[in-house]
């Protein structure tokens, strides 16, 4: 890991935290999009699996150290003693999967539409399937609801996350045009 | 409000200057030459670099401390090849970036200064002494325990400079130090620069700042197009920038 990688990881982690502070953006339809989990998807897509996962881990470490870095100013051990621990851990695993999937799905030379779809697909795989999967696992255990019912709770967040995945794909595509980052 | 010009006058003790030697250096990126066959021997106390945006001033400065590796040619500071002996060169040559925020790594002033000292292997006792001395030198001792994001742009720049001075380099490189400052801060910076006994190489658009320098180099598209007395160089740059 070069100093440059260190810089990318640290600054992207800072971005994820900052996105939890910036207020949600109301889409044209009036639906507000919260940005922090979008930031985690972007970490995997833009920095790649290893650095993206590290950025997510940095955020998790900051939470563990007691700092109010999660959206709403949450932080500290209490978060880990709560229902969302699975989602949080899922961020790191999900970022890795997203980054890896992006390397597979996003083929250089393909049309813009295909590339954006590939990136969004990678974000769905990591940011949705993995994050919700791990989130539901913990939630089921934590709440005593069992997988099926915990899954029902999680489902409520899926439409929002699908929109975020598409946005993540679009953002990544446009960022890549403005800034060249070697794929790792 | 900190004001270094009200501090006791510093009697500049001219420190031994370093010789920065570029031997036919080229830096090519994406087919474009950021530096194009540059040969220079810089040894004066005050050297200016002028050129339009993108001419290569930043690349030139950054290559002196090994942040940019030449595609051809070698750069040596006091005989040390910058690529192979980067650490040693960085111990004697400090670079002040254009945006002081990007240079300040820790959230509290004293901690940030300690970072630079720790990298160069100073003991805890020496670190404390050097931090105090560097802050004092610039008249910002009062800022030692302050949080960086509470400081003004001018103060941040002084903190970044203090971070470099604490290591006691022989040469200081400045990348457009006044481009983001208002008039008062620009004047203050000029006073600070005038009082520095270290050798200084300054890339700037602020031609007034360089007016009484020993030597000014004009760069265009990565090439040296003029190299000589400040007045003449500035006139050449002005003419070519029409």
């Amino acid at each position: 890991m070069t100093t440059r990688d260190l810089g990318y990881v640290a600054l992207f982690a800072a971005l994820i935290v900052a996105l939890g502070i910036v207020p949600a953006i109301p889409l044209a339809a009036g639906v507000p999009i919260t940005l922090q989990s979008l930031g985690v998807m972007l970490a995997g897509l833009i920095l790649g699996p290893k650095r993206g996962a590290l950025a997510a881990l940095v955020v998790i470490a900051l939470v563990a150290l007691g700092l109010p870095v999660l959206a709403g100013g949450r932080g500290g051990l209490g978060v880990f003693a709560g229902p969302t621990t699975g989602y949080l851990v899922g961020w790191a695993v999900g970022a890795f999967v997203t980054g890896f999937a992006a390397m597979v799905f996003d083929v250089e030379g393909a049309s813009s539409a295909k590339r954006i779809a590939g990136l969004a697909g990678a974000a769905i795989l990591g940011g949705l399937v993995v994050v919700h999967g791990l989130g539901i696992l913990w939630l089921a255990l934590y709440s005593g609801l069992g997988f099926a019912k915990a899954g029902m709770v999680s489902i409520a967040f899926v439409p929002g996350d699908l929109i975020k995945a598409v946005i993540a794909g679009l953002v990544t595509f446009q960022v890549r045009r403005a800034y060249a980052l070697e794929r790792k | 409000m900190t004001d270094p010009s009200s501090a006791p006058p510093i009697i500049p003790v001219p420190l031994p200057r370093q010789v920065v030697a570029f031997a036919d250096v080229s830096v090519v990126r994406d087919g474009r030459a950021a530096l194009d066959h540059v040969t220079l021997r810089l040894e004066e106390g005050r050297i200016g670099l002028v050129g339009l945006n993108g001419a290569g001033k930043s690349t030139l400065l950054k290559s002196m401390v090994g942040l940019v590796t030449p595609t051809a040619g070698t750069i040596a500071v006091d005989g040390r090849d910058v690529t192979r002996e980067a650490r040693a060169v960085r111990a004697t040559t400090g670079l002040l970036f254009q945006n002081p925020d990007n240079q300040i790594v820790f959230p509290i002033v004293a901690e940030d200064l300690a970072f630079g000292l720790k990298n160069h292997g100073f003991s805890k006792a020496e670190t404390a002494a050097r931090i105090a001395a560097a802050l004092d030198r610039l008249g910002i001792a009062a800022l030692a325990d302050r949080r960086i994001h509470e400081l003004s742009g001018g103060e941040k720049q002084l903190v970044a400079l203090a971070g470099l001075l604490a290591v006691e380099p022989r040469t200081l490189l400045f990348d457009e130090p006044t481009s983001q400052l208002d008039l008062r801060n620009r004047n203050r910076f000029r006073d600070v620069l005038a009082a520095l006994p270290e050798q200084a190489i300054v890339a700037a658009h602020d031609l007034e700042l360089l007016a009484d320098f020993d030597r000014v180099v004009v760069i265009e598209a990565g090439r040296v197009v003029f190299d000589g007395a400040a007045g003449a160089a500035i006139a050449v740059h002005r003419e070519r920038a029409r």
Binding site: T3, G7, L11, V69, I167, V175 | A91, N102, P107, N119
Partner: protein, 228 residues
């Protein structure tokens, strides 16, 4: 639940080393999830509240701290009652309350500095294996924290500029320029870190001496990393 983090104190919990508290909490949490008896868990919840109270924090303040968590637990309890059965709710609610209370007790008696130290010590064995460099980890965490306010400011600037152009409904209009700025900044920060001599030499700090650049460098030099 924004806790009053690690206020200095002299209660027994305050004086316990952070590592012990965290380990204890982890073991306790495991035990809580293995125990299935509502009565035992109810006692545990009571003990948890006592532990939190033993830190010196007044009861009313504790309730305020734990309000958010307790609301979530109550909601889970109700959902359990309605969608599973009363027996489950009777087990889950005290379990989660115990967990929250004990975790809060640790949070109240441990400072961020102590957590950081524990993290460093936790990483030490991995460092000896050469897998991790604690210095780099610490730097990364510090850097992240250091730049959060700046990035938030940049986000606001971009938002204002976009609003002035009628683009406030587009997440892309905010996120794309923000991400680019972050990446550009990251590059320059990395350069500045290198220029300031990072990483520190692995050997002992150099002996106190006059600042002389003519001394041979005992640690050897690394090749520079290319920064276009």
């Amino acid at each position: 639940m924004i806790a009053a983090l690690g206020a200095a104190g002299t209660t027994p919990l305050h004086r316990l080393p952070a590592g012990a508290k965290l380990l204890g909490l982890a073991l306790l949490a495991t035990a809580l999830f293995l125990i299935d008896r509502a009565d035992v868990l109810a006692v545990a919840a009571g003990l948890g509240l006592l532990a939190a109270r033993s830190t010196g924090r007044p009861f009313a303040a504790l309730m305020r701290d734990l309000f958010g968590a307790l609301m979530v637990i109550a909601a889970i309890g109700i959902v359990d009652l309605l969608m599973v059965d009363a027996a489950t709710a009777a087990v889950i609610v005290p379990r989660l309350m115990a967990l929250a209370a004990f975790a809060h007790a640790v949070t109240l008696t441990t400072t961020t500095a102590e957590f950081t130290e524990t993290l460093e010590r936790g990483l030490a064995p991995f460092e000896r294996l050469g897998l991790v460099d604690a210095g780099r980890v610490a730097l990364t965490l510090t850097l992240a924290l250091r730049f959060v306010p700046l990035i938030v400011e940049e986000a606001h600037e971009i938002r204002e500029a976009q609003a002035a152009r009628g683009l406030s409904g587009s997440p892309l209009a905010l996120v794309v320029p923000l991400v680019v700025r972050v990446l550009v900044r990251a590059e320059e920060v990395a350069q500045a870190i290198d220029a300031r001599g990072f990483p520190p030499p692995r050997s002992a700090p150099r002996p106190t001496s006059l600042p002389s650049s003519r001394q041979p460098d005992p640690t050897g030099d690394r090749p520079s990393h290319d920064h276009p």
